[in-house]
């Protein structure tokens, strides 16, 4: 199948190095301590953060740092064919673990010993790149909850199809069987914390694809930063009215 046409356009009309439209909103779940929704094209996820709060299972309490938990789930209606997924399937268990460890890398857990932070992410609409979107949403939600963080973790994926590196794969491109590289970075430190990749790729091409994904992460970061600043602005204004 042709994923990049001779004019250099992809199936959805994007250029190879073009990202889908990003949209984000903060504070979408009123009961949660922090929440955000994040859209990358047709992929839409929502994240809610509770904490820091008392550790529920006492035996997991840590004396020197906070316990971070994460639960990833996909809504039944999120994919094309509607199916009831068992909650603890292997894929979502793994993604939960990956998101948790990625967020742990940026949360300053040692500042909140003996407490627990819960991150719930749910995919409302899946069109490729769900784990990236979840990480981006979780970052926003954590920031909204006011949890101390080292940096804003952002994530983006890139792939390689028709011998062209492609940024931010959608579902069709993702399931084409080509390589799929998901990267999560700490942009200010310029360090890679999450890196997942599958399918076969020569090493030098991999380097290019990873570089592209990192650039994508940086673009996401500037967008997220804007959203957060905007949010902070409105908060300030609201405070101004209150006083």
């Amino acid at each position: 199948m042709e994923y990049v046409n001779p004019e250099g356009l992809r199936l959805d009309g994007r250029r190879p190095m073009e990202m889908r439209q990003l949209r984000a909103e903060i504070g979408v779940v009123s009961r949660a301590d922090g929440s955000a929704s994040f859209e990358m094209g047709n992929t839409k996820v929502i994240a809610a953060v509770y904490g820091p709060r008392e550790v529920q299972n006492r035996s997991q309490q840590m004396n020197d740092q906070a316990l971070v938990r994460c639960e990833y789930s996909m809504a039944n209606f999120s994919t094309g064919d509607r199916r009831r997924k068992t909650k603890g399937d292997r894929r979502s268990t793994e993604i939960s673990l990956v998101i948790r460890q990625t967020m742990e890398a940026c949360i300053l857990t040692h500042l909140m010993p003996r407490s627990q932070i819960d991150i719930y992410v749910q995919v409302l609409q899946a069109d490729g790149g769900t784990r990236s979107a979840c990480i981006n949403a979780a970052t926003l939600a954590l920031a909204d909850a006011g949890i101390p963080m080292r940096d804003l973790v952002t994530s983006c994926s890139a792939g390689y199809l028709n011998s062209t590196p492609l940024l931010d794969l959608n579902y069709l491109e993702d399931s084409a069987g080509g390589a799929d590289v998901t990267v999560g970075i700490l942009p200010k430190l310029d360090k890679v914390t999450l890196l997942q990749m599958d399918a076969k790729l020569p090493m030098d091409i991999f380097e290019n694809v990873m570089q592209l994904a990192v650039e994508g992460c940086k673009a996401v970061e500037s967008h997220i930063r804007e959203i957060l600043l905007e949010n902070a602005q409105t908060l300030v204004i609201r405070q101004g009215y209150g006083s």
Partner: protein, 443 residues
């Protein structure tokens, strides 16, 4: 709560500090350098498709089994490959019985991704009837002892088991050509899987701010801030990477890891190949033993004579004998002699390379080995009337009658020639192979 405190294994501050500070002078607690692997031993079970891997103190067993199932709807002409992990509670105090833990799931997914997404195992050849029956290959990984770095050890165990696994041969029959007949291993030699390349997982642990080590022990895993498992093959193709969060590393470090890993992958690949090869010769040898008593020949005697015959043959069949490779593992020294002898049996026209992309060359050889084995005791019986008629022995073999070949030949073709049988057996087998493959294609 107190009991729970007692059940977890814990580390002292001293150990943590020491592991980190020793790395500053590039030293590791067990005396290795940062980029050294621990001792690796691979053993095989008596049955095809089982392996046991020991990497330092880490001990993993792997079993491969197959089953005919319906294919997935979106992939009607591909077999399936699945990986299951079991973290036995005996392996580590933190493993609990019951539902697989997060780390068990992650381990399974890493292995799975490395093997499946890179198409290491040819799944299309596992299709029997498109849309109806395909082979489902299941890899079970049992962690027996957790000494750290389960990923690499489990990956090696899975590969070793896959390389030695054989599925029963099946043919299509019936009116519509849709009926599947399974042939038990005694009747037809089971077929090995087609493995295109070996994706080797190499795990790095990031300790402290800038140290990294390869193949971490469980002490180092307790200290590390992040881990990255890189799966690549000997050609330097990256097949999978898993770095699930944790300490951030520079992009350049990632690339450095990849380069180191590709060297390590080469080492491990050759190690796996050597042991698998010796397993195969060993296996072929077992077939010799299995068949010997059928002919009720005095075992000792037959052994002795067989050797003589074989030696004679080795000389004569030089043109088809394989290069007596010198890369045999040292451990195999004990059976080296027998291996040699066996090789002269199996010497096929092609080189002894089970990894060549060609279809089933190793299967071909293994069957030859078994065939040869049948032939030897027979020769013993009829040592007197040697070269009776080669043509006769030749025909039934070259016939398109592979089903009963080995057993039949044991029964009927008692009177076969001495040296010729084996060589002759090689050629028709070869032809038959081609014929059969074209047959299946036609179906």
């Amino acid at each position: 709560m107190e009991q729970r405190l007692g059940n977890t294994w814990r580390m002292t501050v001293n150990e943590k500090k020491f592991i980190e500070s020793a790395l500053e002078s590039e030293l590791r607690v067990d005396g290795r350098r940062p980029f050294d692997y621990r001792a690796l031993t691979i053993k095989f079970g008596r049955e095809d498709g089982s392996s046991e891997v020991q990497l330092g103190q880490t001990h993993i067993m792997s079993f491969v089994t197959s089953q005919l199932v319906q294919p997935y709807r979106d992939r009607p002409n591909e077999g399936t490959l699945s990986v299951f992990t079991e973290f036995s509670p005996m392996a580590d105090p933190s493993f609990e019985a019951g539902r697989p833990s997060e780390s068990a799931v992650e381990l399974g997914r890493i292995i799975d991704r490395g093997l499946r997404e890179s198409r290491a195992v040819d799944t299309e050849s596992l299709c029997v009837v498109a849309g109806k029956w395909v082979w489902s290959i299941r890899i079970d990984l049992h962690i027996l002892d957790n000494g750290g770095n389960l990923v690499d050890a489990a990956n090696i165990a899975a590969l070793a088991a896959l390389l030695t696994f054989r599925r029963p041969e099946c043919t299509l029959g019936g009116d519509d050509g849709q009926e599947v007949t399974l042939h038990p291993p005694e009747v037809r030699e089971p077929l090995p899987l087609i493995v295109h390349h070996l994706p080797i997982a190499v795990t790095f642990a990031f300790i402290g701010d800038e140290h990294m080590v390869i193949d971490p022990t469980h002490h180092e895993e307790a200290v590390m801030g992040g881990r990255m498992s890189v799966t690549l093959n000997a050609n330097g193709d990256v097949c999978a990477i898993q770095k699930a969060g944790g300490h951030g590393v520079m992009q350049s470090v990632v690339m450095q890891c990849l380069r180191i890993a590709s060297v390590k992958a080469g080492d491990i690949t050759s190690k796996i190949k050597t042991v698998v090869e010796s397993y195969k010769t060993d296996r072929a040898l077992r077939m010799v033993k299995r068949h010997a008593p059928i002919n009720a020949v005095d075992v000792n005697e037959s052994g002795g004579k067989a050797k003589q015959i074989l030696e004679g043959q080795k000389l004569k069949s030089e043109e088809c004998s394989v290069s007596q490779s010198d890369d045999m593992d040292v451990e195999q020294g004990r059976i080296n002699k027998r291996t040699d002898k066996n090789r002269s049996f199996t010497g096929g026209p092609s080189s002894w390379d089970p990894y060549s992309e060609g279809v089933n060359t190793d299967e071909l050889k293994a069957t030859l080995a078994s065939r040869g084995s049948v032939a030897v005791p027979m020769n013993l019986d009829n040592l007197g009337d040697t070269i009776r008629d080669e043509t006769k022995s030749d025909e039934p073999l070259s016939d398109v009658n592979p089903v009963s070949s080995s057993t039949d030949s044991a029964g009927k073709e008692m009177a076969t020639s001495k040296e010729k049988t084996l060589q002759d057996a090689v050629k028709p087998k070869n032809k038959r192979k081609k014929k059969k493959s074209s047959n299946t294609a036609a179906v």
